[in-house]
């Protein structure tokens, strides 16, 4: 007996909370992926990253409404179209943001913080004006509803779906990073920006593409987010702090570190939430992260090479 639960119960609780944690993990990974590649590439912390996610969520919402009204027969497929639209719209806005705002501020990291924070406020107000202040939710297609039962444990199909999606996107980003020309250039710029220019890499162009891609991934995270939370103009704010935590904890330049760190944080949060209140869970998670960061200030994963 522990906390008044039998060990059998405790096992089920752990698995079920663990699963709930996995959906949170998915959103964290997608958000952190975008934030981390942008931060790694150009040292810019995108304070509006949560709003790019919510933009993706609204796109998904619009898309589901459009399908319901005009193409009810194809409703089962709307989510895939929505993801593509969310990626393109958030990515395009990201490209525009880089061109209009960020590229003028590269020499001034603190100003990029302020500027993107300002952008996040503008975007929130734009959402409020366009979509209204009330929360909106999307209708799930029927094949995504319901759950599968494994013994005494129920898992929701949409949760499984979101996780599969996350795996695929992470895999694609990893492939791009380690197999594509773009990835080669990103890794070079991250290692040594000046020298990258001197070997012929157009670092500014890579910055723009990277910022766009990072925002696009946030948009897809927004699509996933519609399945587990309701969309409102300021919902992105709730996730941005946790995502920072994930990035810093993982070591900003390691994909694997980001994933491991998202896993640790989402799991400890969701497991602890069962036993204590939400805010206690958050405090404990923070304490764990701080403790681990004191032991490993460079984050969980760092590549070792000689200097």
């Amino acid at each position: 007996m522990l906390f008044g639960y039998s060990f059998g119960d405790l096992g089920s609780i752990l698995v079920m909370q663990g699963f709930a944690g996995l959906i949170l993990f998915s959103v964290f990974v997608l958000m952190a992926l975008g934030l981390a590649i942008i931060f790694g590439q150009m040292g810019v912390i995108n304070m509006a990253h949560g709003e790019f996610m919510i933009l993706g969520a609204y796109m998904t919402f619009l898309c589901s409404n459009l399908f319901q009204t005009y193409l009810p027969g194809l409703f089962g497929l709307y989510f895939f179209v929505a993801m593509a639209i969310a990626f393109v719209v958030a990515g395009a806005l990201g490209l525009a943001t880089e061109w209009l705002l960020i590229r003028h501020l590269y020499a001034r990291p603190l100003d990029t913080l302020l500027a993107t924070w300002g952008l996040s406020l503008i975007m929130q107000q734009a959402f409020r004006s366009i979509f209204g202040a009330r929360e909106v939710g999307v209708e799930l297609p029927s094949w995504m509803m319901g759950s599968l039962t494994f013994g005494s444990i129920d898992v929701q199909i949409n949760g499984l779906f979101v996780m599969g999606l996350t795996l695929i996107i992470t895999g694609v980003v990893a492939l791009l990073m380690f197999r594509s020309r773009w990835g080669l250039q990103v890794r070079a710029v991250v290692t040594n920006r000046t020298m990258s220019g001197a070997v012929g890499i157009d670092t500014r162009r890579i910055d723009r593409l990277t910022f766009g891609l990072g925002c696009g991934i946030a948009g897809v995270a927004g699509s996933a987010f519609t399945m587990i939370g309701s969309t409102s103009p300021s919902a992105g704010q709730l996730y941005i702090v946790d995502t920072f935590l994930v990035v810093v904890f993982g070591g900003a330049q390691s994909l694997l570190g980001t994933i491991a760190s998202a896993f640790t944080i989402s799991q400890s949060q969701s497991t602890l939430e069962f036993f204590t209140s939400g805010s206690n869970a958050k405090v404990t998670t923070l304490l764990i992260v701080i403790g681990l960061l004191m032991l490993r200030p460079q984050g969980l994963f760092v590549l070792k090479v000689r200097k």
Partner: protein
């Protein structure tokens, strides 16, 4: 084919290069010698564009590149091997060379590069940062050659390298010049290396070219005197 006119470069208030003039013919190897802190690296950095110039003209085949960002200069035919090599330590040897390839739009590393530096073919998958200093130097040269340059800028390629490898590097430089009719500008302090590779020698002192001569006319003792502290 490569001309520099009245190049002025400063770090903040302190001017380091005072009106450098030089012109280099196609296929020529020019060595710039000078003691520590005389401005050799500053010259190289401003030629490739990682350091802005205050005034002056840098032209490649008649086109002034002085206002261009460095990647555009690489596209025009300049390539740079920095002092201290600065290879991308966490990336593999192959990936390091591929970064030079980006500007050409090609996707395969020419065999020629591996035949110039067989050691790189052997260590293809190893991280650049785990190579020895001499191997890193070869990698830095290979990376620069991958962009298919017309003019190769080398900043102290012999620094911290044992005499036998220094000889190898000299052989390779002359070989590439032969192979591609490449123009080479190299900054150096090791006199034996300079006398071995250069067609012409310029002496730099306090940001000015104070003396220059063809290799065949050069008075070794006079150059040595400029290098002595």
């Amino acid at each position: 084919m490569f001309n520099v006119r009245g190049l002025n470069v400063a770090y903040g208030q302190s001017q380091v290069l005072h009106g450098i003039d030089m012109s280099v013919a196609q296929g020529e190897i020019v060595a710039v010698v000078g003691r520590n802190g005389m401005g050799k690296s500053t010259l190289m950095k401003s030629l490739i564009g990682v350091l802005p110039s205050r005034a002056g003209e840098i032209s490649v085949e008649g086109i002034d590149v002085a206002g261009m960002p460095s990647h555009a200069r690489v596209k025009r035919g300049l390539a740079y091997v920095p002092q201290g090599r600065q290879i991308f330590g966490t990336m593999t040897v192959r990936e390091n060379i591929e970064t030079g390839l980006v500007v050409t739009g090609k996707s395969d590393i020419p065999d020629e590069i591996y035949s110039l530096f067989p050691i790189l073919a052997e260590f293809d998958k190893r991280r650049g940062g785990n190579l020895s200093g001499g191997q890193q130097q070869q990698l830095a040269i290979a990376r620069a050659l991958a962009s298919d340059p017309k003019i190769l800028l080398l900043d102290e390629p012999t620094e911290g390298i044992q005499p036998s490898i220094i000889k190898d590097i000299a052989v390779v430089l002359k070989e590439i010049r032969q192979l591609r009719n490449l123009t080479i500008v190299v900054c150096e302090q090791v006199l034996s290396f300079v006398l071995d590779v250069a067609d012409r020698i310029l002496v730099m002192e306090n940001g000015r070219i104070v003396h220059q001569d063809q290799r065949k006319n050069v008075d070794e003792a006079a150059i040595a005197a400029y290098l002595a502290v």
